[in-house]
Amino acid sequence: MSSSTSPVLADGTLVTDLVNTATREVQMRTLSDPEIYELEMERIFGRIWVFLGHESEIPASGDFMVRDMGSDSVLVTRDKAGEVHVMLNVCPHRGMRISTLDAGNTQVHTCIYHGWAFRPNGEFLGAPVEKECMHGKIMTKQQLGLDRARVTLYGGLIFATWNHEGPSFEEFLGDAKWYYDILFKRSDRGMEVLGPPQRFTVRANWKAAGEQSAADGFHTLTLHRWLGEVGNYAKKGEGEGGGADLSPEMYGVEVSSPHGHALRCIDLGRKIRRLTGLDPDQLSVDQKLDVLPPAGMTRDMVEQLRNNLSDEQLQVLTSMPPQVGGIFPNVLFGFVYIPQGDGSVVGSMTMHAYVPKGPDKLEFVNWIFAEKDAPEALREKMRKQTTQLFGTSGMVEQDDSDTWPHMTLAAKGARGRRMTLKYQAVYETGKPEGWPGPGIVNEGFTKDDTQWHWWLHWRELMSAD
């Protein structure tokens, strides 16, 4: 990326220089500087595909919900034809929010200020006392519709962008799509939310959470050390590391992409060995699926996988499945296998969005999912255990949300802002032999590459015209 197009901050710093590609360092002012934040709203959230929720949240004609695309509130609606629309939640008349609610159902969105009314697809219907023509004659009704974003549904996940001419959603996902398909498009009927998302405020810059979502493996060892100290994660078999040693969980395959997406594929071998007493390498794909169905699926559902995934994807899913990672820039997914007291496993399917709410504030939005075909008993276990470990009261993630504010505060200091975040643990391994998937792939103990690639893409977008 040519630095000639890079914006220059008020103190003369080039935005490209915030990320030092020679030493793999990022200046900490990126976590607190209001000027950088404003640029991000334009150059990142104003242009890329933004995750807004799942279509199962608005199943019926007229259903709507209010979400955020960067610093803008948007209406996410379903029209009579079943199509999903995303529009700026701002009345074109005098700037009042069209909806002040979180969700609801209506075929006519009427602004409570002057009564301008809009269809679920954003078309301007009219204003009160039609014959007096409140909207005047300078602009046509067609010109006065709500500001519409470009929308795509992917496995029911709703993404939108203001960049009508920009890359397609498939281009945006790039090589990572091969892996996301294993998670989001593996079943015949797809997944659905178990309810509306949890939402809470964290006084931290959105990137403190965002860069972690790009598959930060190392933090698990220390920030989440309690997992090795008590409970079912601490109870492990021979050779799996007991007590507080979580390091065996750090081995696997990490996938990153030039688009900043990241996935941690964690070895299932130890779990399968514990469940069967057999060498996982000697088991077929079908045998492994029978022993340990993918997180969130039952044995009855595994035959659906053949309808939707390739043999190569099944190979990854049954040996080294993506369990945690991110979709650039502010989405985390977790498809994890939660150990139970009796040695069995309950899956958890969750997604988070870290919505920017100013340079030092983010809204943590947490959705919990299940496969539509999952039986009720499994859904209930998934809902409870996901809530107990992740999100608002989650025993794992409560430690994350308590950490990010301190990074943000540190980044405000006159010296602290000149400190750097370091991503200098570099893979030297490459792909494991026979690995069938695309992308930038490395095996072994976790490293910093995925997060570094996240920052490189941040730099690229921040510098692009």
């Binding site: 609610l101 979180d102 309810g195 999100g391 993630e397």
Partner: protein
């Protein structure tokens, strides 16, 4: 747990009666235990069939006010076993960072109203709760306000908490986690 938030035939336990005072005493002592981080003591007051939940809240029009309480996905979705697991994490590990160092909290409990429950010895108790939560050297308090809908069960001279639903007032919580009990 059903979604009825009152007994089928409410019979009021009037303010000022001995039972009412015993229940207020239980709630005040419970608040003190939690503020003083005596979590194992608190755990001993829980019934083994405990249901402990905090619904999500949504902003909905007044005509759909019931929809403002969401009981599908919740902020807390716990039972006795999982609450005891939370206590174990907070008291028996060296790594429960969200509450180590601990928040300084005040649980202000007011507006206590009591009805007889459907089962003998059970009481349906509603109370208002305001928690001030201070962390680190932050000048700002996190405020957590809620109505609690409890079922208390008489055991000997005291009570056990058999059910608690915490009806938080914020659609977007103003605290970074619920690593404390409400």
């Amino acid at each position: 747990m059903n979604e009825n938030q009152s007994p089928s035939q409410p019979l009021e336990v009037p303010i000022g009666t001995p039972v009412y005072h015993q229940i207020v005493n239980f709630l005040y002592r419970e608040a003190r235990m939690l503020d003083e981080l005596r979590l194992r003591d608190w755990g001993a007051t829980l019934a083994e069939d405990l249901v402990y939940t905090a619904p999500i809240r949504q902003t909905r029009p007044i005509s759909q006010s019931a929809a403002s309480v969401v009981r599908t996905v919740k902020h807390f979705d716990d039972d006795y076993r999982s609450v005891m697991g939370r206590i174990l994490r907070l008291t028996s590990t060296r790594s429960a960072w969200a509450e180590d160092p601990p928040s300084r909290t005040r649980r202000l409990v007011t507006n206590v109203l009591v009805d007889e429950g459907d089962q003998p010895g059970e009481y349906w108790v509603t109370s208002y709760l305001l928690i001030t939560r201070s962390r680190f050297d932050f000048d700002q308090f996190d405020l957590i306000s809620a109505e609690r809908r409890d079922v208390l069960r008489r055991v000997g001279d005291s009570f056990q908490l058999a059910r608690r639903e915490i009806l938080l007032d914020q659609a977007v919580l103003g605290t970074p986690n619920l690593a404390i009990f409400l």
